[in-house]
């Protein structure tokens, strides 16, 4: 049942988001966006031997922002750090069967969130 301006995939991930939550003592945390702009995404990663073994998020934002976050966590779990870093907003949007033009920035936010979290991980594990 696709209602609203979104694809059924978006609606599914919006209504039943996967991996909502926090990871205590996460290996990497990324935060992008700003509630004043309407969206904010916080991504927690658990990384083990170069693999994303767990991902959780908390997002404040529109349907596309929540769905992008949910889809992103699904996509990166089980991927290597390098594979995760290679994920683009287009991959996220495609996996959601597309986003309305004005909502593309939500998938961009997802891409930035994973990069930000991986940067945080790299920084923490730089030593």
């Amino acid at each position: 049942m696709a209602a609203g301006p979104y694809s059924e995939k978006v609606m599914d991930h919006f209504m039943n988001p996967r991996n909502v939550g926090e990871i205590e003592s996460a290996d990497g945390v990324g935060e992008v966006g700003n509630p004043a702009c309407g969206d904010m995404m916080r991504l927690y990663l658990k990384i083990d031997e170069g693999m994303v073994v767990d991902a959780k998020f908390r997002t404040f934002g529109c349907g596309a922002a929540i769905a992008s976050s949910s889809m992103l966590t699904e996509m990166i779990k089980g991927k290597t750090v390098d594979e995760a870093r290679a994920i683009t907003n287009q991959h996220v949007a495609d996996a959601l069967d597309g986003l309305p033009a004005v909502k593309i920035h939500c998938s961009v936010m997802a891409e930035q969130a994973v990069k930000s979290a991986l940067d945080d991980y790299a920084k923490k594990h730089a030593g």
Partner: protein, 402 residues
Amino acid sequence: MTKAFFDHISTTPLDPRVFEAMRPYFFDRYGNPSSHIHDQGQAAVRAVDQARAEVAALIGAKAGEIVFTSGATESNNLAVLGAAEGAGAGKRRVVVSDVEHFSVMNALIPLRNAGYEVTVLPVDRNGVVDPDAVRKALRADTALLSVMHANSEIGTIEPVGQIGQIAKEAGVTFHVDATASAGHIPVDVREIPADLVTLSAHNFYGPKGAGALYLREGTKVAPRTFGGFQEMGYRAGTENVPAVVGMGAAAILAGREMGAWAEHLSRLGKTLWDGLAAIPMLHYTGHPSERLPGHVSFWVEHVEGESLLLFLNMKGVMAASGSACSSNLRGHDEEDLVASPVLRAIGVPSDICTGSITFSLGKGNTADEVRLALDALPGIVDRLRAMSPTYLDYQKRQVKGG
């Protein structure tokens, strides 16, 4: 599933009686009023003339003061741009309130480009324009003052009677966008000294495709549509006869029944308003009493507006975020990404305000429908907050503070 439509500010369902009035003009009486030489054309002429008188009667005007348009946007454009041009050389200033609809605000773009000076009047936190600020803003070279009657997003009713008196004394043409108010609360040009008033049929149970601009006798407005000589020269193009007839029929109904509608809406609106108080950190917007009947608007801390509305829709509850036009997903990015200009105007801090929610009730709504909304809302708010990083931070701050 029960469905409850609470977005009457964006459009209203057609009253079946209005539809019956329109129907013959789709079939037996399909003439073009400009072809008045024959019976079909004459029937159309009579229909448009009658509708003109009916719409005029709704606002206490004369029939000859009503110009039919395709809708409120066209009426607002004609009022703002036409009056600016019609005011003549030397009058190069326009004054508007900070909460006007896009069809007034964006009509200022070509005026600014043409060198007009635009003064935007601030509103208070209830969204009310201060008549004293109007008095100070009007000058001899002011071509036009435009202040809406009721705001669609926050429901506030502006003191247009008082403001119009000030404009009249200053000799400034006064435009009132009554799109959200006409047909719902009294709009009478014998009491509101407006020179131009915008009306929209689909906002009071009439059809889409018909609007009107009231032009007080003697008001100078340059036309913006060029072609045949319809609508006394103010608006070229074949009249949308069925829609115009529908606007007339809707005007009659509204004139007769708006009191009863308002009573029903106010009662339901109060139930909704009171019920919402159970949701923590919910903030009502607009004036608490000087507001459209059945209009309930608010924002919720840590809850983004679109998400809330999508979940509501899934529960069969249709509400909107402020003005329909400001939420055009298919529009330019910017409009979508910034907080509502009206919320900004009433001083809601943009870092915690994340979406304006408007419930606009209609005469067909029931107490059960309101109950449906009230039952759905707390769970949705909780669910979205549970997902929100800002709410998490807020809770942690509370715990620390406590």
